[in-house]
Subunit: 610 residues, 2 copies
């Protein structure tokens, strides 16, 4: 039977040949909108076939999909028959969780100062006494000297000038002429900010006069077909012929899908979008520009570039004004990307008077410590535990994930599951909370070792004691019995899970300690801690302190700031001053490479216990 893999949900099912993708999705327990029940009339069940024969588009597909979508491999899941192994992406799949966060929202700058400027100009018409070429006629009327007209602007200039009787709007990006439009278009200019996440790409479209966010959207990074994490994608890119191009194409397609969605939501024309600010980890910045990432992945981890990089949208084939500017914000080092520069900008790291710490936790924990006129940064290999990988029942923070655990020693375990559905696994923030509760209840000791029904504290309830079980893979503690869970399995935390978490939290804690040592401060001197990123936004701060993921800082000084990397990109989009500040960061920020430091190894070992 052919296999269908849904990369967005990391699920795979076998289906009899000839069944539809809708059937396969149902079998994989993935909810797909299908209002019409598979008749092909509602057009809701769009999916993208990444590998495998998608067949010829049916009439229903030609009706509900644009030619671009068909070209990109989109199908209606109800009309696409599985004849061979397929890899499928369900695009624009919003996280099915209803989790609300309490972000400290980044303040907008007081003044919006976009780098895109529009000038309405009335040119003199040519006469027998004034035979200047169109190009000179234009340049002589513009408010800046030394401007250059690109081939693309020149190509249509004669008609553009004459379309509205020599009234035109000149569009300048950062003092460069990028477009000339017939008549008065000075009322509209828009820009984009995009965060290239390894898993999810997030973007907003912004009114460049008001700074207002017109729409925000997120979509799965289509590079996932080539590996879940950055290192496996780099390996693919380096080993395959044209691997770099393939990965670049995937991320550009992802961004184009996102842009299409933002334009469709807002009815903004792509020619009205003149700027795109991009942040991402250093590898994503390389992929986005099609730059060889080979030497990022191995010591001494040398990136091809870290500086800000600007180019025309047409050079990447992005679905905005082709002459619009794309700016990839600067990175700091191979493992400290422009996303972290975005975090620094959004949390004002380069301008703070007090001592502040910002932490972005993912597979890598990136840590910034600013104060006393210096900014230190490091990246520490936290491993994938916080993202639910390599944890027995680990999963992403989606429907069915245990996001919180409460243990009452007198009673039993209480779970909070995303969307209130039967539990399927546990996400990173749930895991931290569980371990904190284990520690408080004495289910594990401070070395991380499981007690058992005998060695556990006497006052533990018998219900809790029943949850100590032994399996082939060692000692476990049952969070949800099979009768309660989505698939009938006992959902447990294993001893190995706890060891994984210890490695992860020790890496973060040791990283923070090294930065404190470099600055010559103790943790009590840290005035403010910012937790950013998806994990940082949902983590229970109390648990982070109990488990020793964070140093002992009063909880009220610790705030979650949501996707601060993306907020930084938004700030750079609407504020030239903010943007310029990022350009100085690579020269100012002191990057500590932890892998070569003996003292890091010591700190790490010391931080393993709870």
């Amino acid at each position: 039977m052919p296999k269908v893999k849904f990369i967005s949900h990391q699920k795979e099912v076998d289906v009899p040949a000839g069944k539809t993708l809708l059937y396969a999705a149902a079998k994989a327990e993935i909810p797909i909108d299908s209002v019409c029940g598979g008749k092909g009339t509602c057009g809701k069940c769009k999916a993208m076939v990444i590998f495998g024969d998608r067949g010829t588009p049916t009439a229903a597909e030609r009706e509900h999909l644009t030619p671009e979508e068909i070209e990109h491999g989109f199908v209606l899941a109800c009309k696409c028959h599985v004849l061979e192994d397929m890899v499928v992406e369900l695009p624009h799949k919003k996280d099915s969780s209803n989790r609300k966060t309490a972000f400290v929202h980044i303040k907008q700058p007081e003044v919006v100062e976009a780098s895109i400027e529009k000038y309405l100009i009335k040119l003199k018409r040519p006469t027998a006494k004034d035979l200047r070429p169109d190009c000179d006629r234009l340049l002589n009327s513009l408010p800046l000297d030394g401007l250059r007209v690109s081939r693309e602007v020149l190509a249509t200039l004669p008609r553009v000038l004459r379309e509205k009787s020599f009234n035109i709007t000149a569009v300048l990006a950062n003092g460069k002429l990028i477009a000339v439009e017939p008549g008065d278009t000075t009322q509209r200019k828009f820009g984009l900010a995009v965060d290239l996440g390894t898993t999810t790409v997030v973007g907003s479209i912004v009114n460049l006069y008001s700074g207002e966010i017109m729409a925000t959207s997120a979509t799965a990074n289509l590079q996932q077909a080539y590996g879940a994490d950055v290192v496996s994608r780099i390996t693919y890119a380096v080993q395959q012929e044209q691997g770099i191009e393939q990965l670049q194409n995937r991320i550009l397609r992802t961004v184009n899908l996102l842009i299409d969605d933002l334009l469709a939501q807002t009815k903004i024309d792509k020619f009205e979008v003149y700027e795109l600010i991009v942040v991402g980890n250093t590898a994503m910045s390389h992929f986005f520009l099609g730059v060889d990432p080979a030497y990022l992945a191995a010591p001494p981890f040398i990136p091809a570039f870290t500086g800000p990089f600007s180019l025309r949208a047409a050079e990447l084939g992005l679905g905005m004004n082709p002459q619009g500017r794309v700016l990839v914000l600067p990175s700091i080092a191979g493992y400290v990307g422009s996303d972290m520069v975005g975090v620094m900008l959004a949390t004002n790291m380069d301008q703070r008077k007090d001592i502040s710490l910002a932490i972005d936790i993912g597979t890598n924990g990136e840590i910034v410590l600013a104060g006393r006129g210096r900014i230190f940064v490091c990246s520490t290999a936290a491993g994938p535990a916080f993202e639910g990988a390599q944890i027995k029942y680990g999963m992403r923070a989606a429907e069915g994930a245990i996001e919180s655990v409460n243990i009452d020693s007198d009673a039993d375990v209480q779970l909070k599951v995303i969307n209130g559905s039967p539990p399927r696994g546990i996400c990173g923030s749930g895991l931290i909370k569980a371990i904190a509760e284990f520690l408080k209840a004495g289910i594990i000791d401070s070395s991380g070792r499981f007690n058992n029904a005998q060695t556990a504290p006497k006052d533990l309830s018998s219900r809790l004691k029943e949850r100590f079980i032994k399996r082939d893979d060692g000692a476990c503690f049952v969070l949800a019995w099979g009768r309660e869970s989505a698939n009938g399995d006992n959902i447990v935390i294993t001893q190995k899970d706890i060891r994984m978490l210890q490695l992860s939290k020790a890496a973060i804690y040791a990283g923070i300690n090294i930065l404190q040592k470099e600055m010559g401060i103790s943790e009590s001197e840290i005035n403010q801690v910012f937790l950013s990123g998806a994990f940082g936004s949902f983590i229970d701060i109390e648990s982070a302190l109990v488990t020793g993921l964070l140093p002992k800082i009063p909880a009220e000084r610790i705030v979650s700031v949501g996707n601060a990397a993306f907020d930084g990109a938004l700030l750079a989009l609407i504020s030239k001053t903010s943007r310029t500040r990022t350009f100085f960061l690579p020269g100012v920020v002191e990057h500590l490479e932890l892998s070569t430091r003996v003292d890091f190894q010591e700190e790490f070992v010391n931080a393993l216990n709870f």
Copy 2:
């Protein structure tokens, strides 16, 4: 029966369906190399199908043609069967004439100073103490500040640096970094100069160290499928959807064929070619860059641009180093193109102390008069007579064209035919010579009217008198009787031919007079006259003076300088100083628009008589 049109030879034949193109060419009396006699083994009979079904490439075609050639529509004429109407180009068709010219060759500059510079640099390898990104490592080692690395250079930079252990050659064009090559490539750098003629495109590949021309080639301008002259091509471009793109594609394909040929002749790799200098008339410059030429063709004849225009080769898809620079030299006005700027550079018009005149004669006559610290230029509509069009037996200067006529009043007409073959027609320079001889022998009077056997001078030989004939189209004079000619027709000069020539020569003469008037000089003050272009190179100077095409200047002051436009492009390629001089010309040269001047009309009427 399907028709086959050979645009390179302006011939059309009907052939039975299923016959080969080789058969069609033979029927049209066009010689094609076919060493193997049509077996498909020699690969000599290449042709390009521009319109019509070329069929699937045969095995012989796949053997003798490159995939690029097949994609561009090339076939072997012996293997391509005519099933429907076709338009065919015989590429790289050298002019079949053996005519040798005695050009005054443009002196090379004393010093070759190319704008392409190469620097061999040994970079420091990264160490744990030196983790600079590759891009910074490179830029810090380069001899110039403020350089920028393009996306394309960046994309492969990591491997390029490491391929020869961080020894690299940096290539700068005009102070911009365009390429980084592994190891030492400083021994080789090449450039191209191209003249975009309306009919023929000529190019050379040049060693940018020595200035040596490595190879020169010419090919038919493939735009001819859309019109023989510039105005009809502009009309096509403006009226057809995507007409501009089509015409741009055609000229770019032509240039790419030329480049391919030059590279093949010299075994130079395309990545070693870093610069291309382009000249052409203003419309060709527009087409080359894909710029709308609509307003060039109608009063007040406003070009989109005249300034020099520089861009990356990749932006046009040219077959040289994609990061190499393409520079279109500046034009002066809608009908005074960069080709004329090339003429001015090659003839040193901006630096001459004496008074000099340069004339480039084609459908338009472009005239430059320099002296007394000023440079005047005008363009005058000479019409197509000099190029053989609208003349009863006019033809281009190819095999079978009468190129010279001598009339001995006592005897008869003596003809000189290109390649010594039986005459087929008469080319422009032959026509001028014939008219001069007619005047001297009294065959026509000074008003241009034919005498006849009765009114002709008494001493005219009877053989000559027999040559006055009357036909439906009026009085004629027979140059070659049907028994001598290639197709059995009497080859004659008609009264209308003479009137056409009078209009043409009057336009040129009046143009020269207007320029003299503006400068306030008489023709005796002109020290030097340069005749450029194909017509100017072959014209009999004595005849040009007799017919009043040129003002009465001693013949020894008049020289033919060949394709001076192209020589100007070559100069600009190998000399930065020369190139820079052209940038100042549009601001210095005084352009006179003749069409609006009453005094031009007067001068024109006065110049009609011989």
